[in-house]
Subunit: 258 residues, 2 copies
């Protein structure tokens, strides 16, 4: 199939296919770029991202790390040609140090501030969604997964807000897709009331990010970990997974699903 | 299907399946535990692991981080009941600080020391393998993937050394599976000459780890990123992916594949 993607995102690359005999072919390869993020001139983190929605990622990552609470907390954002990202906060605060981070199991992002483990929010949203609508949203996510189909190297996340807002994101890291979604919510000042669907596994840090953003319904194509379920319980989040065209499994709180 | 797994690794959990109607079922959920690793009493990293092969992981992670070169560099290893891991080195050295780490896109592990980016080894192994043997090894990996089949929440890695050694590992993080394999090689003092097969995507940090361990042939069920391919080139590593029962794609150096 002939895909059409931005050259900044994808490179076409000569490869050799073996399927009994060797033959030349061409593959679509996703680009991965390192960004150093500085907050008020202080080094905060280096992250690997696909070259898309870096601003959304940065706002989301700062939000899920507890560094900002909304977009007004940022007075200046810029990304330079060397991919360094500089953020200036209205009210500078301590960024934490190495010992306050946990290296997570997640594709992308891959670390969370410890304090988020002790600071789980209880989500009190009355948002409800029908099982049929969950499957409908999932079908949209699957339908829009060209980048994954072409590269076999990215995750996708999809947010449908109760007010009708839609946000999608792609990245190598499943974490990063969540941070990009949450950054989109933060940047636009949207309500996070709604459903988030991810192609990635729902491990602890995925749930922590969604809990911090107070997203009431979180769904995956694959499965959660035990700690992911425990944290979803603690934050009163509806958690589902193993989603396919016609089915899914609820791991916590079916009450929000009609 | 009735699987048999250790209770320390898996919990059976009541869930609700929707496939047109709602029904109770039981799912197998993988456990995820946080370990704080201290080196010579100094905090080194917090990592999320499935409760298996923590010692292999620690040795591998210290090796791929450039902290140790072989198992003799460790004079004492212990894991306590609170899951804290304490390592004492023969020749203590600086561990790096927050600004020397990159948060990677990877499932597990999720950060690498910067110096490994500038310190790529050229692998001069003369190891060769037939295309048929790559597929045979891949079939073994697939056959032994019960933990993934049951939980849908783990990656697997498999190493077959030129001397006949076999090592496998499972973890939520694709990185962690690589560190566990490399830790197994380091702990047993084995040669790393051989083939490593992963179920995870081959992003930059995956290649960096394998390069540091000088594994000449690295293969994935899925795809590499562009930076992954670039680093494989730089280290003279044979890189293949998109592997299925009867096919794979070579992304760099088909010369080692007969």
């Amino acid at each position: 199939m002939q895909w059409k993607f931005s050259k900044k995102l994808i490179t076409r690359y000569k490869t050799i296919k073996y399927d009994g005999t060797f033959a030349e072919e061409e593959s679509y390869i996703i680009k991965e770029i390192r960004h150093n993020i500085y907050v008020n001139g202080e080094f905060f983190a280096s992250v690997m991202l696909i070259p898309e929605k870096q601003k959304e990622f940065t706002y989301g990552f700062l939000f899920t790390s507890g560094i900002i609470n909304n977009s007004d907390d940022v007075v200046n954002y810029r990304m330079c040609e060397n991919y360094n990202i500089y953020v200036y906060l209205k009210d500078p605060r301590p960024l934490g140090n190495n010992s306050t981070w946990t290296i997570t199991s997640g594709c992308g992002g891959g670390k969370v501030l410890d304090k988020t483990y002790d600071d789980i929010k209880t989500i009190d949203s009355v948002f409800k969604i029908s099982a049929v609508d969950i499957l409908n949203h999932f079908r949209v996510l699957e339908k829009e997964s060209d980048l994954h189909s072409a590269t076999r190297c990215v995750h996708k996340a999809y947010f449908a807000g109760s007010g009708g807002d839609r946000i999608t994101s792609d990245d190598i890291g499943r974490h990063n897709t969540i941070d990009k979604i949450i950054g989109g919510i933060v940047l636009k000042g949207l309500s996070s009331d709604g459903i988030l669907i991810s192609t990635g596994r729902l491990t602890s840090e995925m749930i922590l990010k969604c809990s911090r953003a107070e997203i009431p319904v979180v769904v995956s194509r694959t499965a959660p970990s035990k700690l992911g379920i425990d944290l979803a319980k603690k934050s009163n989040m509806t958690l589902a997974g193993l989603t396919g065209k016609k089915r899914f499994t609820v791991f916590h709180d079916p009450g929000r699903i009609e």
